[in-house]
Structures are given as structure tokens and as C-alpha cells.
Symmetry: D2
Subunit: 354 residues, 4 copies
């Protein structure tokens, strides 16, 4: 596909599919002498893993990360780091009926058009399983960012039409939906339950905040920090929109309202979302991401088969109802990858104080 790499200095290349041996990632450009062990991945892989919440699919994936290359005596060497996550439960039977039919909202149709085939056993390369490799890459990126004090935190801002009203950041980690508002979370869970019962799925909006990011990251004019963040996030399967700072709301503001005044103590507001002219300004980076409802639903749908003939599709079985909150660690991972890459790039493009 020739599009499976991301980054310039800290470059990740994911591989693998849901039907095969597993998924993985090669990370080229990670600095040497960073401590790294399989244990470092457990928490983030678990956060991404389905099966923890009532709304999630019951398939059990045990996402243990093997380090195939790039680490010697517990530290990175500067050589490419290869991480691999084996597939389990590769029971493709539930998908056998899909051999002939394109699932609406899925990439079956476009993969068939482009590659002359598609993977009826569960999406293959375009399965959400690929994101496990991204999360693993994000853990390594995080190792570069942590000493700088950069923190990336995502949460559920909206789900099934329910919007967060009060944001309590410290509550996020305790909430099953990574929602910062206990009341909203309850309503969201009810919405998930209802949708699941009716064989339907829900979408939502995630917010990501980056604190501690130094000013100066981003390479104009095309590799602006916001441009690379937008690409990284839009490259995740279910994402249909991304906005920075005030985002679409900025379109309704006047310049006098949208400009962030500057004081000797810093910016007095943050409608820019921490990025000016494609370069981080030292303030918090804020993004919001539109996540579409998962296309696999239990309801009858109209579609066509490989020969273009009209058909009806109805899955049995259970499915994830919403990509949120599982997508949160994926979003965080991609943001970390972008920031680690731009941090390393900035070492060569940014003026150093001497």
C-alpha cells in the first residue's frame, strides 16, 4: 500500500491484519539508551483491548507485545524497534457469510475496487486490530516525551448525543468511558445499552489535551504541527473530523473574539489550541475528534455482492456499540507519535540557545 509509514525522524511503519499472525510496528529513529521492556506496554494495550465494558464485543484479545528487535540489555540501541502482537481467537467463521457481500460503511467495497480482493474474515488490514500496533508505538513515543514533561490525555466529550457538561480531569481514569463527567457518563452508558439492544451503534466526540509541550514544534509550511496531527488522527478508521482549539466554533467568532491576547504571563485565552502558524506556542494543545458510529450493526442492511447484485445483510453475533472509549488510547498514541517526531525534528530546525 506504500502508505504504512508515518513520521520523518521517529518513523513508525505498521503491518499485519486481523486474519494473519498478528499486527506489529517497526519504529525507526528512536534514540538509543531508552529503557524499554514488554511490561511497559501492558497498561496501554489493556486500555485499548475490548472486553472490559458491557458495551464491548466479548471477543477476548490478549494483546501481549513482543519486542522482536531494537532492544539490547533492556535499552533501545538506536536500531529499529519491532513490536509484535499475535492474534488469538482467529475464528473466522462468523465472517464467512461476508465472503460475497460488501458491508455498508466498511472498506470492503473500496479494497475490492483497489486491490481486487477484500478480506471477508474481518477486515484484514483495515480491521481496528491495526490500531493495536499504533498504541504500542505510542508507548515508545511516550518514553521520549515523558522526560520533557509532555502529557497527552484524551477523554470522551460526547457519546450518542450526550455531551459532557462538567469536566473533572481527575475523574477520567476511573470512568469506564474515560468520561470526565460522572453524570454524563451514566447517560452515555444508558445510550450505549439502548443502542446495543436495538442492534445499533453510536458515534461520539473525543477531546485530546496535551500539556507541557514546549514551544517551537512544527515544520511549516506543510508539516505544521496541526497539519500532521490532523493527518495522524484522520488516518484512524472511524474518524470523520478533527478540529484544533476553537475549531469550527472559530468560524463563528470575530477576530477580536478569537485572537488570544498575550500578556507577560502568557496567553490570556487559548482559542488557538496551542498552535500558531503550525508551531506549538507552549500553551495546552487541544483537539476534538469526530468518531462515526461503528458500521457493523445487527440490523438488516441493503448492499450488493461482488458481482454487483442486490443483497441484504444481517449479522448475528455481538459487536462493539461505539468506538469510544476504546479509540481514546489510539488517539493519544498517534498524538504522541506526532509530538515525538516533531520534537526530534526540532532538534535540527529550531534555533538552540547557547
Amino acid at each position: 500500500m506504500a502508505g504504512s509509514s508515518f513520521g520523518v525522524i521517529f518513523k513508525i511503519s505498521t503491518f499485519g491484519e486481523s486474519h494473519g499472525e498478528g499486527v506489529g510496528v517497526v519504529i525507526d529513529g528512536c534514540p538509543p539508551q531508552i529503557k524499554l521492556s514488554p511490561q511497559d506496554f501492558i497498561m496501554e494495550m489493556t486500555r485499548r483491548r475490548p472486553g472490559k465494558r458491557s458495551s464491548d464485543t466479548p471477543r477476548r484479545e490478549e494483546d501481549r507485545v513482543e519486542i522482536l528487535a531494537g532492544v539490547f540489555e533492556g535499552r533501545t540501541t538506536g536500531a529499529p524497534i519491532t513490536l509484535f502482537i499475535r492474534n488469538r481467537d482467529a475464528d473466522s467463521r462468523p465472517y464467512e457469510i461476508l465472503r460475497q457481500l460488501f458491508r455498508p460503511g466498511h472498506a470492503d467495497y473500496t479494497y475490492f475496487k483497489k486491490y481486487g480482493h477484500f478480506d471477508h474474515t474481518g477486515g484484514g488490514r483495515y480491521s481496528a486490530r491495526e490500531t493495536a500496533a499504533r498504541v504500542a508505538a505510542g508507548v515508545v513515543a511516550g518514553k521520549i516525551l515523558e522526560p520533557l514533561g509532555v502529557k497527552v490525555m484524551g477523554f470522551t466529550l460526547e457519546l450518542g448525543g450526550v455531551r459532557v457538561e462538567n469536566i473533572e480531569l481527575e475523574y477520567i481514569g476511573k470512568d469506564p468511558l474515560y468520561c470526565p463527567d460522572p453524570l454524563a457518563s451514566e447517560q452515555m452508558q444508558a445510550a450505549l445499552s439502548d443502542a446495543g439492544k436495538s442492534g445499533d451503534s453510536l458515534g461520539g466526540v473525543a477531546e485530546i489535551r496535551v500539556s507541557g509541550c514546549p514551544a517551537g514544534l512544527g515544520e511549516p509550511v506543510f508539516d505544521k504541527l496541526d497539519a500532521d496531527l490532523a493527518k495522524a488522527i484522520m488516518s484512524i478508521g472511524t474518524v470523520k473530523g478533527v478540529e484544533i482549539g476553537a475549531g469550527f466554533e472559530a468560524a463563528r467568532l470575530k477576530g477580536s473574539e478569537n485572537n488570544d491576547p498575550i500578556s507577560p504571563d502568557g496567553f490570556l485565552s487559548n482559542r488557538a489550541g496551542g498552535i500558531l502558524g503550525g508551531i506549538s506556542n507552549g500553551d495546552q494543545i487541544i483537539m476534538r475528534v469526530a468518531v462515526k458510529p461503528i458500521p457493523s450493526i445487527g440490523r438488516r442492511q441493503n448492499t450488493v455482492d461482488r458481482l454487483g447484485r442486490s443483497a441484504e445483510l444481517k449479522f448475528a453475533g455481538r459487536f462493539d456499540v461505539c468506538a469510544l472509549p476504546r479509540i481514546i488510547p489510539v488517539l493519544e498514541a498517534m498524538v504522541k507519535v506526532v509530538l515525538a517526531d516533531h520534537y526530534l525534528r526540532s532538534n535540527t530546525t529550531t534555533r538552540r540557545k547557547t
Copy 2:
């Protein structure tokens, strides 16, 4: 900056700034034997040029494109095409007061942090003038797309809070704001006039539609068509958000509502916006773009100087009130560049019928 190139096969590299000799672009990877002359650029450069509308700045830029390289006897040769647009009116006096002050909402602050200087004479590299080079590149990209029947059309969907209600595509070309709704356009013009009088600026939302795009463009998993479009568009200075198809609205839909059913005659709806799994599906590609209000305003603003001391900033002079509609040809150009690049890439990655 090491980030001034975009594209893999059809690769554009812009250069130049508002203070210097001019702006330009090198296009590497354009196929040979395509007819190209300086006349081909006039229409698009004129659409981008300020000075046509009452709301635009009165500075007159005559954006004539010189072909410095890559064309022989009226046709491309396969060698890099270099296009150059000289600066005129390089009167930097109005900006002299900016030598010490960071303009709120501009990149002065971040450029200073990153590069140790900023260009007080009008933005330098981060001036909107850079987009003239993008528009020129888009004209060449269009030469690759035209024989395929691909058409890219942008329009003003919302401006200063006024939203289009009825879309008459054939009217867009006649409207001074590239607005498809005469009534909405009148209200938008009134809003522009009011904002201009009060020394303020406005934002808006643009929509871009691509018709005739073949199925199969896009290289998963990172160089998905929507991911590259998002990056291309977010790399334009005033853009704060981008969405594909139903976009943020998809976050509020159920799967049964958001999935586009497929029939033997094609997709029965287009909430996907013409892209599934990062690959074009043959349907119309639809995007919307949030454009922030122009940060240069005539009102008094709080800021700091290079030494971090509190200061007030108030410009005299006239400014653009809104980046719309001038940004429309820039958006179209970037979309064309993405599509031309992905079309050429698809020649090697997509299965060919034999």
C-alpha cells in the same frame, strides 16, 4: 523548515515569502508531455488575488506566474517545474511598528520562539502570500486530473454566522463570495461590511466537493485519502478544522443512520463523503473546512514585545475582513494536489484490469 514539501510522486515544494523576491513552487514528478503555458495560471491566480471585492485589502498584487523550469516547447518534460510569482508593492513601512510586538493570533510569537526571529514586514514565510504558490501548483495538478474527468469545486457555506440555505451550484461562479445562495450571500456581504467598519474580522466555513474521482485512490493505513486531504487543508494558515462527509454530525448519528446503503446503482446516500477506509469509493468527495477570522484587526489588542513586556497594539490601515472567499481557490488547489499525487501513486499500488 524541512517541511515545505508535500506529496510522494507529484511532489510540490513551495518557497518564498512576502518580504523577498517572490514566492514559488517546484513540482517534481509531473508526467511529461502535458501542455503548460503561463496563460494557464491567470484565472486561478486572479481568483486568489485580493482587490476585487470591497471587503478585500486594497493592496494590488499582480500575480503573474513565470515558468522558470520544466517546460520545453510548450510541454512539460518530466523535469521539475518551477513556477515563480514576483512580489510587487513590497512597501514594508506599514509594518515597521511590528518590529517589536507580537501580533495576537499570528505566528510572530512561535516563529520567534522557534527561529530566533520573526518577520515584522508582513509575515514573511507565514504570510498568506505563500498560498499563491499553492494555487499555481494546483493548476498543474488540475492538468493531470482534467483528462480523468475529476472536478474540484469549493464554495462558501457559512460566513460571519450566516449559513447557506439553498445550494445552487451554477450560481457560485457569479457570486463575489463564491456563495451558492444569492440571499445568504447578501447577508454575508452585509456582515463583512459591518465587521470592516468596526475594524473587526470574520470567519466562516467552506465546503469542497470533488466529482468524477475514480474509486481506488488512497494508500492505507497512514496515507489514506482523507488523512492526506486533512493534512493538506490543515496546512493552510487560517484553517482550524476539517471534516469529511457527515463529519462531526456523524458523531450524533446511529450506525443504521450513518451507513450508506449500497445498491446495484451505487451508494444510496453519501454520509461517508466519498471515502471508505481511506480509499475513494467513486462517489462525490465532500469536505468542510473551518476558517478562523483573520487575526489582523483594526482594534486595540493586548500583547507583549520581544522582551516579554506588556504592550498595546493597534493597526492603522485596512485589512482583509475574511479569508473567505479568497481561500477557496487555495483549498481547491490543495485538494487537486492531493488527488493528482494519489492518482499517480495508484498507478503502482492498485490492481489494473487487463
Copy 3:
């Protein structure tokens, strides 16, 4: 290291080291629907494997290629292909004495300077083991070239000072040194035996010929076919020189001697080596490669330890005496990778007959 990828469209990224789990390669950009199975790799991996010849090290490596990703139902899918070759015999004891000493002629010293460590257990990333991944990638590249009729053949032209006098191409496959001259081969084998007995090693010269390469491959001005071939070949550890066509001999010819006259039946000589202006001319591509003697020898050598203190180094054990002929399949593999990449690139940059 951020330098572990090669290619633009057919892009290979190797990973792995001698001390770890194994070595492997991710190939991104391979077209879909190509038949590929683990059996396809056996012959080339065996050719590269040591242990077949008396001059080779007795360490037994069983280089079985696992396909971790990118193949579905026996065919490539267009997704990244990941090939993995597990390490066996990872007995690091013989190298334990190297924990403190830099081996002359090896990369221990430079890796220590660059990365702050080096791998005393046998080279790690800079072990010749990495070339197993290249050979595997070459097999996939070969699948793209075979239908075009492109054939890549390398042979030993010189070894230990013995130069081939008569080239019998059909004999190469039968010769233990891939030498096209039975008499020269006998002398080379004697030289290898002598050197081995005295604990020393030998260098040599390989020649590579490509037949059936279509005209038009190569992307001026930097990605010329000969430039990319030179890089690909010089990136192999023991290579110290590369020449195309007449090579260094051309430096002693006059223009009237070196120019290849053209006739209606093609070029009347081939001092260009099949490449003019960086683009293949349809004639046979010819290269020669200088291979240095393997630096691991059984003789006493002067060196320093990690603290810079003078030391003497003397290995026990047996070593390869010469990188030839084992390097031949590696050279062929890299040439195939370059040609496959340029062939796919040429689909977008070369004028197609219609």
C-alpha cells in the same frame, strides 16, 4: 537509526539483529495479487546461508522465512509484507571477551561513538545477519521483475587476487564460489584454504549483470538508476567500491573509445553498463563491486578498550574467510529491490505508449 528503509514505492525496512529474536523486513508497496509462499524463499536463503562450503563458518543457521503479514490465501494483498527469520544458535559466549574491546575493521568503535554502546555478542544490528532480511526482500522484488523478463545474476570475478579469465555463465550455478571459470575457481579455493589456515581473510570483486531490463528506469537527477544502485550496494557492510560499465577503466579511455556507438540494431558496445544519464537504455546493466576481506581474523591485532586503553585481541574459533560468495545473493537482492522500485516508479513518470 532512522536509516533502515530503502525505496520510494517498493519500500523495504529491515529490522533485527544477531543477538535478538531474529531479523526481518517490512515491504510496503508491493502490488496485490502476487503469489507468495514461504517456499519461495528457500533457495535464496540457502544460497546466502553459511555452512555449505569449507571456507565458511561452521555455525549453522537455518534461515526459514515466516510470513507474518501481507499475504492472504496465498497472494499478496497490497498491505505491507512482513518477513521474519528467527535466530538460532544464539550462543553469545564466543564473543564475551569482546565486551570491552573494539574489533579492528568492525563497527564496534563507531557504534559506541554514536549510540553509546555496541553489541559485543556479534555485531547486533551491524552483523552480516541483517543481510538475510535483504535477501528475503529480494525474493519479493524478483516476483515483480520475473514477468518482465528481468534476470539478475552475480558472480565472483576476483578472489584473493585470483581473477577470472574465461567467463562461462552457465557454469556459475555449479561452482561453490559462484565463479564462472573452473580453473580460476580452483585457484581461489586454494587461496581460501591457505588464508584460513593462517587465520587470515580475503577480499574480492563481484560482478552483477542484469539482462532484460527495459529502457526508461531511473529518475534523474538524484534518483538515477546508477546512483540508487550504488547506494544499495554500498549499504552492504563489506563493500568498499562500486563501478558501472567500464567504471574506473573508463577514466583511462578517450571519448572516442568509451562512447558506445548506436546502430539500428542497438548499441554496438556496452561501456556505459546499460545506463545513460541515469536511465536504463535497454542494454545489459553491468556493475562490479569491491568486497573487503572480512575483518574478523584469527591473528593477533592491536586495538583499544572502551576506556581507550591499549589492548591486544586474538579470537579463537573459526570465521568466514571471505564474504564472497555469500554476498552474491545479497548483491543480487539489492539490485532486484532497486529495479522493482524503479519499475513501479516508472509507471508514473514515464511516458506510456497509447
Copy 4:
């Protein structure tokens, strides 16, 4: 052609041809705040310029470098630097007879095959004129290397079969052939004179030495320093071979002869040519380059026309007799570009002392 860029962080993209407005280069990734003015280029451009030596073509090129972008108030800004050198004397009449005939040894044939045309007016993109842009880029690269104490020096080692015997480095600058041996230089000049009189041309060998290069530059495994140097040098039109350190001579040495012993004071010999495992070792970097005789000669040659019909070609006019010594500044420039790029890359990949 999609191959006109070189470098990862310090990235140069040349453009232009002999028939058009001029040649130039965009340099993206040059750090900010470096002093740069048009005067900085004069010396190197003059060294590359023909017309100074009796053996050179009398065409007068005045290669003045214009800075079109990237410099503000005398210093680089971090934005892309665009350098442009206008063509003069664009008298294409001497080449008119070439409209139909392919010149032996030139790229006319391969460009016609690839692009469907070739430039009969003097080579167009594949004219040696393109190297003027490389020399200009080398001047900027030199600005990065100078503060580090890196010095790049090339000289004529062999010309027309005459080989240097005694190397007096301080004499090189005074010699018209950049030859370090006055006696050899006289013989070379005589050979040039003889060849010129007989309408023929000569080849030669250049040597390049880099002193002061810090250890640690080079990114294994593909972007090894020697691999990138080989590519950079082989991408110059008339180069047919490149070797590092002992080069092809290493193929005839034993390991015990070729390994450079290490002492507390450094390496005791330099057969490695300053690079081990693709990484600079702090010693002098040494390369030799085979330069073919210029293919344009005054003698009658056999060729074909565009329709493949047999033809004879005989130029009137005068031509350069040898690419040496003019190619020396081009070689030096490319070496500087490689080193500057790898130096900047090493800022992110190499372990920093703290």
C-alpha cells in the same frame, strides 16, 4: 522526474535546464540565523565555471547566484532557501543538427525512451549546467560544516592516464587542474592539449578528502554515510565509479593487511577511509571517483535518428576535453551536502553527552 531531491533534513531540490531561464535549487531544512549573501557563492561558482582553462569550452557563463527566498536581513530564516542562476548565451544554433540524432554516450536516447522527447539544444535537464545548482547548494552546506571544522578538498588524481605521484596538498589551489603534483599536472595538460587537437576527450580520477569530520555521522543500515556519499557522487553525470578508503585495492588485501589497528591515539592506518559500518570514525574520509571522458567529441560517430535509422554524427565547434577539473567543486559540493544532512540528522539519532 520525482527524483530531483536529495537529503532528509538538509534537503536540496534542484531544478532547471540548459535551454530555459536558468538552473536553481531549493534548500529546505537549513537552520536559521546563518549569514548568507550572494557574495558567498562567487568563488565556488567561478571554480565550476568553464572558460578559465585552455582545455575548456569558450562559452562564457556568468554564474551569478540570486537568492530568491529564505534570507532576511542577511541571515537564513529557517524557511526554504531558493538560489537561482540565470542562463546566458542561450544560443541553441550549434545544437540544431541534433534535433534528430542521438549523441552516443549522452542521455538523448534514454530521455527519448522515457519521456518521449529529448532536448536537442544541449541536454536540457541532463546538461552539466544542472551541476551549477549543486555547487550553490554546497556553499550553503559548507556554512553548516565550517563551524564544526569540517574541510572538504578534492583534487585530480589521474587524468588521461597520467597519475599523480607526489601529493602536495598546498599546491592544489594554484594548479589549473587542481592537481597536487606540478610534474603530473604538466603531463596532464599536454594530454589534454593533444586530445583536444584530435577532437577527442579524456577521463580521469578525482580524490576527495574530508578532514575534521566528527565520529558518529551515518544512519545504518541503508543511509550509511558511505552509501549516501556513493549515491550523491554517482548521481553526477559523468561518474562511473566510486570507492571509499582502500576501495577496489581492498579486494586484493588480506584482513590482517586491511584492518586498521587502533591505538590510544587513534587509528594507525586508514584503509577504511574514515567510515566503519557506515558511520564516520573521526578519521579522514577518503573517496576516489572515476570520471568518464566527455561524450561530446569532434570525431565522426555512428548513431541513429529518432526513427532508428542509421546516421553519422560529427560536431563542429569546440568542446570541453575533460570533466576534470571542473567536476571537482561539484564533487566537493555533493560531499558537503551529504555531510550537512547527516550532521543535522545525527542531532536526533546520536547519543549526546550530558
